[in-house]
């Protein structure tokens, strides 16, 4: 029975998946290290009480003290356990890991399977969203967590993080995120995922529902809502767990406030037009409805700096950067696009994408097989481990021999170690960020001390103006240039100024107009009389540009 249900999940979810057109770049995560994630051995209070002895116990939370053990061993990128540490980071922020380690989540999969027949037919958005989040191939939802890891890596951390969070000017730039910063990244991912699932709740109360709602579909839609609420709540709880394990109440408060911000932005999105006393309608610009992610990253970036022991002014600048990066992520989703450095030519790109599709299909298949067997390996979210598991599976081996060669080639090409130039000298200053050469150049990575940075040539002048340390142009690629800046506050300032790199994309009028058009389509503005429509559009453009302006972020 379970097997049949799970196979139906696999079938349904594979139907739900969009073709893989992009994936998240792994190199950025791979340069971060972590400590082991063993659970704490906190005593269970009711263990000693015979009344409750045999009752189900709540699962244990992580304790920072146990996470701290072995941390120092891992912070050095050159350590022998570097590879292991990297996969632990991926495990920590992965939703698949959560699914595999949480009995409630496993039950949820079964429930999902049971109700899939029902809610799948009515196309409840929970099905596709949960499918992407939990079973998708490196889902974009990891992006905010990875960004927080990257900014954490850039920030360094206090030498004795367990004893003090106060800015002491005594920060250890290790090129690795601390355990607390990794827990923060995990919390950020879980929080963003919780938003996504709660957003899939559909209105079935008759007076609020879409007029086209077919009432016969309501029971099935309600079942989907129920799943969305419970799964979202579960993720909120795991967010709170992760953030509380950091043992810093300022960070805890910041993240809890982002949940409140999410609620505000969501409820605003339900009423894009506000009626004024004179009877006219006033439009609320669409961007304001999408800023939940912006608040989340602002809090994440600020918290990363706070945990590193940076000053208030650095925290403020980081928060500002997080805010615009979040908005940019929401508006353009640029960080999830494929970035394949050192690959040239259409053929290579297509080949890699095809391989990735094969990997996706195999991942899903293996996940289902393993779930049926009742055992999910702790590292199933690691693509490499998954591939190896797949290749070891007897029935699959015969059909995957050819694919193995291609996969190995892809892994070889994607390896960050391969890209590094051996013998390159370490620089005096920490690196800041790099931009990969592409037609659509993208903010790609905040580098660590052991990674060379690349900055788009077009933007280097701004760093020069601010006395940044600029290195020579890259010999291999004239579009890329290396730069080093040692003042974090200055870097964030540059990035968030009007002519800064990040805002350059956010402020693009073309994007704003496209967003408006998309929004108006959803609101059915075309049904309005032409004169009203024109007036609204003028107002919308004006308001939107005002929202996009730098005043908002200063």
């Amino acid at each position: 029975m379970l097997r049949r249900l799970l196979l139906s999940v696999q079938k349904k979810l594979s139907q739900q998946f969009q073709p893989v057109t992009y994936y998240y770049t792994t190199p950025s995560v791979e340069t971060v290290s972590t400590a082991p994630t063993s659970s704490s051995s906190k005593s269970i209070i009711y263990e000693s009480n015979p009344i409750m002895r045999n009752l189900p116990k709540p699962s244990q939370g992580q304790s920072y003290s146990t996470l701290m053990s072995n941390a120092e061993r891992c912070v050095d990128p050159g350590s022998v356990n570097y590879e292991e540490s990297r996969s632990q980071v991926v495990d920590l922020i992965s939703l698949k890991k959560l699914l595999s380690s949480n009995p409630e989540m496993k039950k949820l999969v079964v429930k999902l399977a049971e109700s899939l027949q029902q809610i799948g037919e009515v196309r409840h958005p929970f099905v596709s969203t949960a499918g992407d989040l939990f079973f998708g191939d490196s889902p974009p939802i990891l992006t905010p967590g990875v960004l927080v890891l990257l900014i954490s890596k850039l920030a360094g951390h206090a030498i004795s993080a367990s004893s003090s969070y106060a800015p002491r000017g005594d920060i250890y730039y290790s090129g690795a995120a601390s355990d607390r910063q990794i827990l923060l990244a995990r919390g950020i991912v879980l929080n963003a995922a919780a938003y996504e699932l709660h957003r899939t709740v559909i209105e079935t109360v008759e007076s609020f529902a879409d007029r086209t709602l077919d009432l016969s579909r309501v029971p099935a839609l309600h079942q989907g809502n129920k799943m969305a609420i419970l799964t979202g709540d579960m993720l909120v709880v795991n967010t709170v767990r992760s953030i509380s394990a950091i043992e810093n109440n300022r960070v805890f408060g910041l993240i809890m406030n982002t949940v409140a911000d999410f609620s505000i932005s969501e409820i605003q999105s339900t009423r894009p037009f506000k009626k004024l006393p004179n009877g006219k309608l006033r439009f609320t610009p669409p961007i304001s409805t999408d800023l939940a992610e912006s608040f989340l990253l602002a809090a994440g970036f600020r918290s990363a700096m706070l945990l590193a022991g940076h000053s208030q002014s650095v925290q403020d600048q980081a928060s500002k950067l997080g805010r615009v990066v979040g908005a940019l992520w929401k508006v353009k989703d640029p960080f999830t696009r494929v970035c394949l450095p050192r690959l040239s030519g259409l053929f290579s790109t297509l080949a890699i994408r095809m391989i990735l599709r094969v990997i996706t299909a195999l991942q899903i298949l293996v996940f289902v097989v393993i779930l049926i067997m009742g055992q999910i390996p702790s590292s199933e979210c690691d693509a490499n481990a998954m591939i190896e598991t797949v290749l070891k599976t007897e029935p699959i081996r015969s059909i995957s021999n050819t694919a193995q060669q291609s996969v190995n080639e892809a892994k070889h090409r994607l390896s960050p170690r391969k890209r590094r130039q051996p013998g390159r000298k370490r620089h005096k200053y920490r690196s800041t960020m790099k931009v990969l050469p592409a037609d659509e150049s993208l903010l790609h990575d905040f580098s660590s001390a052991d990674v060379e940075i690349k900055l788009g040539k077009a933007h280097i002048e701004r760093f020069r103006r601010h006395d940044a340390k600029v290195k020579d142009q890259d010999q291999d690629d004239p579009k890329v240039i290396d730069a080093r800046v040692h003042d974090l506050e200055e870097v964030f300032g540059i990035l968030t100024r009007r002519d800064g790199y990040v805002l350059e994309q956010l402020l693009s009028l073309k994007d704003a107009v496209n967003k408006i058009i998309e929004f108006l389509d959803k609101q059915g503005i075309s049904k309005l009389p032409p004169d009203q429509r024109d007036a609204y559009i003028k107002n919308i453009v004006k308001e939107t540009i005002k929202m996009y302006s730098m005043k908002k972020y200063k």
């Binding site: 009344i51 045999n54 189900p56 409630e104 419970l230």
Partner: protein, 408 residues
């Protein structure tokens, strides 16, 4: 009996026959609903004060409470078990409860505030903050070695948080259960729609979390995380009707702890920690809250069968209609095994609810549920007696009586 194995360590080792006769002596209290109310709506400031009737009819269990509860000596001659109301200071502490919560919920979006504040209208029982406040004062008195004490501002904040977390879960539950009514008025989802309700619940929870962060106690923050985990864990347990008959009762009590008692237990522990108690004292506070919480839910499940819609503010046998098998049904299934298939299919067939209702009434399920609640209360009293005598320790004992004798 299933509950006997579950409740193996209860201090008073009464035989089942004794319990039955004890029950029979006050059986009329269930059907006649003569017991004093645990809750009244305070006219002042539109809030509930959880005040008991002053000078009302005597507690129907008071005459037998000494045989149920362990030896208990009131701290002052004026305060006797079952004699009436909690201390006036507690009412003062509770007076501005909802006003303060509404203040905390103020934000930049008026519509969201309207959704978030909907259930903070003073119509709720507010038992959770009351337990936390009484425990806080009792612990403070214990530590100070006096019969009276002050309530620390942080403890008051935590009491507010308990009500906010409870309400946030109610709000989400209303959408999950598609409730149309709560506390005798339209449910929040019926009034504002499901999407707004969900984000409203998230908002209340977030504000409660931010308040906990401001307490700046890592231990209390950890407690909040544990409570939330238990609440969601409980919701998942409620969805799961699998398991054989022998495990069903343990599953039910576990669910009850997670969904109801955890918040009470951990809030008691939290206020004890904030008051400066050591681990032992905090543990006693936790145990008190846990046992009282389970008893509270047992009575709630019992009242679902016997109270009218007007009293409970929701339809009779609402749990059965939601497919839930609570203590009265599980006890009844011991006598009428034909209930088991109905439980397994979650009362989903047309005549299931009516048949289950009939069998529960024919059985001793309701009586046994109340006896079990009393035994949990007696355990709670045992833990309360660990504290030094004070007016507030008496209030903790009084609460157990009110919980077990409430009618709505």
């Amino acid at each position: 009996m299933v509950w006997e194995s579950t409740f193996e360590s209860v201090a008073s080792k009464q035989s089942h026959a004794q319990q039955q006769s004890l029950w029979l002596s006050r059986r009329h209290s269930l059907s006649g609903l003569q017991t004093p109310s645990i809750m009244m709506v305070g006219p002042r400031m539109g809030m509930s004060t959880f005040s008991a009737d002053r000078g009302g009819p005597p507690l129907t269990t008071s005459s037998t409470s000494s045989s149920v509860f362990p030896a208990y000596v009131p701290s002052s001659p004026q305060r006797k078990s079952g004699s009436g109301d909690v201390s006036p200071e507690i009412h003062e502490d509770m007076e501005d409860l909802f006003v303060e919560i509404r203040k905390e919920l103020q934000g930049r979006d008026p519509e969201l505030c309207k959704v978030a504040e909907y259930y903070f209208d003073g119509q709720g029982k507010a038992i959770r903050p009351m337990i936390a406040i009484i425990m806080a004062r009792a612990v403070n008195a214990h530590l100070q070695g006096s019969s009276q004490s002050f309530l620390l501002p942080q403890q008051k904040k935590l009491a507010l948080v308990t009500e906010m977390i409870h309400t946030a879960t109610l709000v989400h539950d209303d959408v999950i259960d598609r409730s149309n009514k709560r506390r005798g008025k339209p449910s929040v989802n019926a009034l504002f729609g499901e999407r707004r309700t969900i984000v409203g619940g998230d908002y209340v929870l977030a504000k409660a979390g931010a308040m906990v962060a401001r307490l700046n106690s890592d231990e209390v923050t950890e407690i909040l995380a544990q409570v939330l985990e238990d609440l969601v864990h409980g919701e998942f347990m409620q969805m799961d009707s699998s398991g054989d008959n022998s495990e069903r009762f343990a599953h039910y009590i576990g669910k009850t702890f997670n969904k109801t008692a955890s918040l009470m237990a951990y809030s008691c522990k939290g206020v004890a920690i904030l008051g400066g108690s050591d681990d032992t004292l905090a543990e006693k506070a936790f145990q008190y809250g846990k046992h009282l919480g389970i008893a509270f839910q047992l009575v709630d499940d019992l009242l679902d069968f016997v109270s009218s819609t007007a009293e409970m503010g929701k339809p009779v046998a609402a749990d059965l209609q939601l497919g839930l098998a609570t203590a009265p049904v599980l006890f009844a299934a011991q006598k009428f095994p034909e209930l088991n298939p109905l439980i397994e299919r979650r009362f989903s067939e047309p005549e299931d609810v009516a048949k289950a209702l009939e069998l529960v009434k024919k059985s001793d399920g309701l009586e046994e549920t109340k006896i079990l609640a009393q035994r949990y209360c007696s355990e709670a009293v045992r833990y309360a007696n660990f504290l030094k005598p004070s007016l507030y320790r008496d209030d903790l004992v009084l609460l157990t009586e009110k919980v077990v004798n409430r009618t709505k």
